[in-house]
Amino acid sequence: MAASVAKSRGLAGLLVQAALVVIVLALPLALDPYGYPLFVATQLGVYVIAAIGLNLLAGYAGQVSLGHGAFIAIGAYATALLTVDQGWSFWLAALAGVALSALMGVLMALPSFRLSTWYFAFITLAFAQVFEKMIVEWRGLTKGFAGVVGVQPPSVFGHVLEPAGVYWLVAIIAIIGFWLVNNLVRSRFGRGFVAVRDAPAAAQAAGASPARLKLLAFVIAACFAGVAGAFFAVQKTVVTPDDFTAEFSIFFLLTVVLGGLGTRWGPVVGALVFFLVPELLTGLESWRMMVYGAALLALMLFAPHGLVGAARSLFDRLRPKQAGQTTQPAETVQPQGAHVERPAISGLSLEVKDLRKSFGGVVALGGVDLSVAPGTCAAIVGPNGSGKTTLLNVVGAYYRRDAGAVLLGGRETKGLSPQQIAGEGLGRTFQTPRLLGELTVLDNVLLGAFRRERASLPGTMLRLPGAMAEAERLRAEAMELLAFVGVADRADDLASETPHGHQRLVEIARALMGGARLIMLDEPAAGLSMTELDRLEQLIRRILALGATVVIVEHHLDLVASIASHVTVLDRGVVLASGAPQAVFADAAVMAAYMGERALNEQASDQLSDEAAGEVARPRPVPAKGA
């Protein structure tokens, strides 16, 4: 029944979209073919094209371009100069403009993709500023302030397009662009973009390269800007430096923020609203940047998802709660998932030899050895700050090792990136779950399959049958895995609205979705209730039964003793003890490291006199519980 509701809603959405397309395409019939409204409508289409690209980049991939106007300028100038001066056809010139725009984008942004988000913002801002100067300065090419005059409209089959024809061309390109980007953000690439924005480590754990995804988003955005620029030149017929000031870039940013960053309709709504209120802004001409600034600030503070986001949350609040919608509380429905059959996993072995890692003067790992046989469960325990998580991070290549060997399935992993190691079959969960809060639980699991999915970028954007079939298959598998870990009833909930205990299970499902043959669990039991703990233990047993290898970092010693076949105790970066759980936990040195010597001595002091205990006890500061 829920499926049929969703289907009918999808059908309604499709009808609305079809109606919109008809209205957009029929518009010139109602307007003066050479009039101002048609001119404005064409301009709106041009801006929508650029905004769609910027929304993909800033909204989904989280890379704010503050100089997007410069990329539109590249497309516009290339088209204008090549058609007017060189006599190229519009189509060829526009293609060159798009290619140039994308190329400049790659060259310019290549360094910043390895760094924090704001580097990219700064570099695009600087680029726009430099580019604006260069247009004026490089008079020999760009004709300076005079600009390029007399850009001709394109011809189709030998006919030079009338204004209405240009409008239709722009409208069709905007609609196709909207559709392509829509398909993209709903695919593995879209999930990858959001992961890069919200949890880069999760992207890497799923085998996705943040740098490549950022580059992809930027190239696509630059291409859209180039296309917009080409039509900008045609539609205005004149291209001058005054068209591409810093203000122009800010305008695009505001358009996207106003509509709603990271929403599908945001760029369209934003551009539309901006064009509906031009009178308001002409009266405030000299206040314009102040208005833009205040609007950006207010939107980011009070409506981070813009008009679309605000409308959606209003709609959600007003909509009466339907009976079918209220999901039952987690505690009453307890699907155990034991019934779900999963194919066997051929577990990977892990061999760590003399692994060393220091941070400045602090030795986090001082020569650690660890050996985990395929299909077994090894536990790493030790007080906080003993290097457990660092060990996981070095094994997963999140940190570069100083020295030592890590062999995964017998192969040395030196030089591999975290995403490559994930591709080798290493899955992991995080101490604090790294889920993408704005995506559904199901999408979070699907993120895990990023590296497994084979469909090409064009196949995904064009919804080719092969890509669709693969996506469908993976979706079914993700549902199955959610059932396997026992949270299938939460598949359509937003990850941010899922209880903490479930988030941990979703992370395990995500790792399994990635085809993990060795799973590293970083304190999976932290913060779980007794029942949740029980379910976790059962789940780990079932994963082991499939044949996967499990490495677990855990403070919960009962859990460790019950599931691990091998325990390694770390203390201040070195292995204190290692062996079967019973033997290790009986070791006095281990107990001393874990509980502090005082605790042990107090135990022992039951037989001793009080003052004698005071003599022996050498209290050692217990490391504070770090994050």
Binding site: P111, F122, Q129, V130, R197, A201, A246, L253, M290, G293
Partner: protein, 292 residues
């Protein structure tokens, strides 16, 4: 080649280094790179120029009011534009846009109050901007003072980071939660850093005014060159920023002399791109980044 290029490069480079240091002061405990910083420098120059030149206040009074005013405004930026966004989400998209918005508001506001005409600011006696010849370079007493003062300020700030409070700042930069557990209040430190980073930007504006004149158009160029000095010199590293500032100042002066003044920004931009391509974390070390 003209040795004056070196003098011009060092003077401009000192100013870029000061802007970079103001970025760093604010960045270290907060991990926020304030996009309004360029306009804050501009505001400092304008406020000081108005008080000292137009109203005829003594320079020290004008200086104190300028530093307090710009510092408090920056604190306001934190309270209004940065802290609420950071409370919601740690990823950078939010504060990049909100600090940019603050920058737009300040720029437009200041422009409306003061208009586009630059104000000439004379340095306090006995310093003058009268030029004389020194080892073949045309320099002024104020320029020498500016270069020396910049070095002293950078070294002094490095000393501050060695104190207990300074170490607390570094601890918060490394790990906010862990620092919290050791009794350091990150929120209060953030507020202080915004105030001090803003006050330092105001000071930079005051120092820049006699060289560049106080003008409402100073912001964007200083923002980007300050960023360039901070990035090339490794974010958070003040000595690195000083050397990178010189490097950028001299490169820019060379570009202007050899090509044309119109190309100097392009030259600096290319330099930054090339450096970041080879050394993504700048020339002076990479900070330890906590990932997971």
């Amino acid at each position: 080649m003209d040795i004056d290029i070196l003098a011009r490069g060092l003077v401009a480079g000192s100013l870029y280094a000061l802007v970079a240091v103001s970025f760093n002061i604010l960045y270290r405990p907060t991990n926020v790179f304030n996009f309004a910083q360029g306009e804050l420098v501009m505001l400092g120059a304008m406020v000081f120029a108005s008080l000292a030149t137009v109203l005829g206040w003594p320079w020290y009074a004008a200086l104190i009011v300028t530093l307090l005013g710009v510092g408090l405004l920056t604190l306001l930026i934190d309270v209004v534009a940065v802290a609420p966004v950071l409370a919601r989400s740690q990823h950078g998209t939010g504060w990049v846009i909100t600090t940019l918005a603050a920058s737009l508001i300040i720029a437009n506001g200041v422009n409306r109050i003061w208009g586009p005409d630059p104000i000439v600011v004379r340095p306090p006696a006995p310093l003058t901007t009268d030029t004389f010849s020194l080892a073949g370079m045309t320099v002024s007493a104020y320029q020498i003072f500016l270069v020396l003062l910049t070095v002293i300020l950078v070294l002094a700030i490095e000393q501050v980071y060695r104190t207990r409070q300074g170490k607390a700042v570094l601890a918060v930069a490394e790990d906010r939660e862990a620092a919290l557990l050791r009794g350091v209040n990150p929120l209060r430190l953030s507020r202080w850093s915004f105030f001090l980073g803003g006050a330092f930007a105001g000071l930079t504006g005051v120092l820049a005014a006699p060289v560049l004149y106080a003008s409402t158009g100073l912001g964007p160029a200083l923002l980007l060159k300050g960023f360039a000095a901070a990035a090339v010199g490794s974010i958070g590293n003040n000595r690195g920023a000083l050397i990178a500032g010189y490097l950028i100042g001299v490169t820019e002066a060379l570009g202007a002399a050899l090509l044309s003044p119109g190309y100097q920004e392009a030259v600096v931009f290319l330099l930054v791109l090339c450096v970041l391509l080879v050394w993504p974390h700048g020339l002076f070390g990479r900070p330890f980044a906590r990932t997971v």
